[in-house]
Amino acid sequence: MNLTPSQWAALLPLIIPALGACLIPLMALDKDQATAKWIRAAMYGTALLAVGASFWYLTNLWNTGGQPSFFQLRMDRLAQFTGIFVLVAAALAILQSWDHFHQEGWVKGETLSLLLFSVTGMILFASTTHFVALFLGLELFSIPLYAMVGTVRARTESSEGGMKYFLTGAVASSCFLMGGVLIYGMSGSLDLSAAAFTIKAQGLALDPLVLVGAALLLVGFLFKVSAAPFHQWTPDAYEASPHPVAGFMSVATKGVALIALLRVFPGSFGPLGAVGVKMQAVVAVLAMVTLVLGNLTALVQSNVKRMLAYSSISHAGYLLLGLVAGTPAAYHGMLFYLVIYLAMNMGAFGLLTAFGLVGEKTTFDDLRGLGWKRPAMGVAGAIFMLSLAGIPPMGGFYGKYMIFRELVGTGHVGMAILGVLASLVSAYYYLRLLVALFLQAPSAEAERLASDRPAVHAPLAGATVLVCAVIVLAGGFLQTFLADGFARRALVDGLGLLR
């Protein structure tokens, strides 16, 4: 089969990580991978190389613009945006995992391979409107994640978290599949945008089965976004998984699912006006529930990872508010928010690694006084927390600002007020982390632990944390560049919404 250059161009970002994913297990065949340094180096090198190459390639592609679609693949700027987004998250996760696995005392090449598979699936998921590709993409990124969550074999909770994630995820996938099948059945087309046109042409936009199909599709997306009430796997899965994987999941899964949601609902289903309206109505309710549940529950957590999990749920709520506003500018804001969110959350999870917290020792008490011991990490932690809380001049503020602005502009003042109240509550638990880092003296127990613990060497994780901090700050000071130069162009090209 001969592929034109542009088709290669569209495919390469997927092929490169997939290749890497296939290569790494070969290296991992050796039993002594934990001890043989060069094998470990080779695996991480391959993974980073794959991610880096794909990233480099995508950034080049970004400059040339969107590629004509072929097969089911639409490598437009939105897809490229997603690719870059996911790859950055993956790169950060890989770097952090070097230190994390080192601290945990085990290394598995398979994890890296699974991560790369997941990356491939995510890029595919966000760059297609064809249901077959969409479903395969979904599964390709989900199944490795199920495995990755349950992969910390030393921990009892790990397989439990993986099992929960798997079972709920499988149910959600089935719903998603059923929804797609119904849409296909009513339209005769597996491509969702084509299907939407057909349905509209046949006047079936309000047919109950079409609506059911759309609703079930939405369930699939909302599960991945971890919006309430499809959110309950989130804290358990995050707690169970290794820190870098949790970070990666919190960022990439959510981001990709939202972008795909954007592509399908406002994008492909645009012609079906009623579906969009109903989607907004549902999302409005769910976003509020998500905000309330996520923030309230985060308030009472003692484990930082669970707190971050609930915080990620509440951030799903903010992001969904952008869908409620439903204007191009709001989508624009969502993309911008995602970029900052990537840095904030990868950084926050990276902090755990950088501070050398392993296993279940990730409670607030374990963090006490660490901010002063590792000032650079502490400052970065403060930046992440303040940004998550939406305090200017951090980047997180601008994300919220853009979304709330559109929310208010479209007359949803009440929801905006709920949103800001939720972020007030959230400020409290983010401050708790700062309290632990800076405002509390290390407890005697923590001191003892700190002295018992082997010297924490997490240079890579530390570096990723600093990079994330820089991105968050850049989001606060170069917001125009990020928002207009990046997010906006992705939207223009991807959804044709902003002209």
Binding site: M163, K164, L167, T168, V171, A172, C175, P208, L211, V212, A214, A215, L216, L218, V219, L222, F223, A228, P229, F230, Q232, W233, P235, D236, V275, K278, A281, V282, V285, L286, V292, L293, L296, T297, A298, L299, V300, Q301, V425, Y428
Partner: protein, 634 residues
Amino acid sequence: MNKYYWLIPILPLLGSAFNGLLGKRAGKGAVTVVGLGVILGSLLLATSAFFAMKGMPDHRLVLNYGEWMATGSLSVPFGLAIDPLSGTMMLVITGIGFLIHLYSVGYMHEDEGYYRFFCYLNLFVFFMLTLVLGSSLVLMFVGWEGVGLCSYLLIGYFYETDFAPDAGLKAFLTNRVGDLGVAIGMMVLFAAFGTLTVSDVLTQAGHMAPEVGFGVLTFATLMLFFGATGKSAQLPLYLWLPDAMAGPTPVSALIHAATMVTSGIYMICRLAPVFTLAPITMEVVAWVGGATALFAATIGLVQRDIKKVLAYSTVSQLGYMFLGLGASGFAAGFFHVFTHAWFKALLFLGAGSVIHAMHHEQDLFKMGGLKTKTKITFITMFAGTIAIMGFPGTSGFFSKDEILYLAFLKSPALWVIGVIGACCTSFYMWRLMALTFWGEPRDHHAYDHAHESPLTMTLPLMVLALGSLFWGFWGVPEAFGGHFAVGEWLKPALTYGQTHAAHGHHEGPAVLLAVISTTLGLGFGFLGWKTFKNGPASELAFAAKFPFLHNLLLNKYYVDEGVELYLLRPTRWFGNLLWKLFDVILIDGVGVNLPGALTRVFGDFTALLQTGRVRNYALSMALGTAVLLYVFLK
């Protein structure tokens, strides 16, 4: 000389600054020189200014030194206004002030805080002059509050004791209560006249008709009068003055007898044209004055502390002054300020001299027989006593008689009250004299060491004694063949073109009234002397016989206790209530922390939803799906 008149108040300020900042290092000599020098300089300049004012065609000298605070329609200049009223007052302050400074050199000689004392004293003169000379009501208020401050500092001068700081605090706060009245009064006047410059206000007021019934000016003047009751220790705000005796004696003489306490009278005279427009206020002023005169006099009858007696006497005499003012006798009231300044300063300094001689013993019952030991003090105090009791020809006679006469014209009841008060005054003054100077010494140790005070202390006594005896001839009323010169002199300052104010000659049995009151006064004086000539035994007997009455008077009608019980304690209780109940429990607790806690409780509740069982998760997803389907199909 004109261009140096700003130094009149500023010189004492400079002296105060010098004494306060450098006095400790400079030594007592320098402090004395500077402290007295500035007052003397001020006195000389004041004299010059007085004559300059006299030379002006309308007897008014206004000097402006630029804007103080101006914004919007409000404009307050730094300005001095010298007219007969303020000019006379200025001379009294600098003159008597100088004498008392001189006296203090001796009295305070051994005190460690000598420099501090002169710093405060100078500062007081500065504020008092500002009060008197200020061209606007606001500047007057500056002095008004400033003298309050100095009084506070001087009363609390012996700060290491328990009592003095309390007395100072009481004085300041009581005065502040009155100051609220002044502040409100000023606001009303500003809203009414659009200016607070005294001459502008008075010029406008001079061209108005009196208010019938209750109105703006009545309210304003009542408020101002309320302020005056604070500063001049009238009912109901007189409480601080007796306690103020905790300060050094020269302070009692200067501030709490001669000058500061009369500033309430001064203010009313200053604003006489406005007060004249408010007949209701005048009525109130007269009755409050009369009531205070009698009330304080009765308390004075049984006090044992020599300074306390004089303090109540002061309150009482101030009451007479207000009585005079209220009877439209502005000049008469003011005249009494003068004469009172002479004899009360004299009496206080004399008492100070006695205390000095007795090594800080202030209890009358422990004195006695000092007649021979401290001759000059005895003679001068004798002069002061006959002046205050109104012995014909002395200064007190003329001023008090004029007031009583005017009171009779207003209402005979007021006259009766006044006469009873005068009788009490004679009685307790002679009680004081008899217990101090006559009889056997009751504390032999103190008596043996008693000695006459140094010249710096006795010289002022002599000067003041002369004033007490003869100053009254400045204001011999018409009834006794004079023409009430002081009234004529002050008239331009008091009327401001007001024509309807009744200052004309009234018919009345002037001579008869004077004879009655004087006779009674002398009689009671003699009675007082007679009773206590040989010691306090008869009073003790009286106390044993009528314990309730005696205790009531001795404890000043229990007003202090009442204030503590019914005003201060409830206020503190209320403050505590506001803090503990409102602030901590209601606003902070219910308003702030409760929502926070509730949020956490909700959080605990929502955390329960996370059961950890995957079936429950799936169920919630299924429920969510059902909701989604419902909304989509609706």
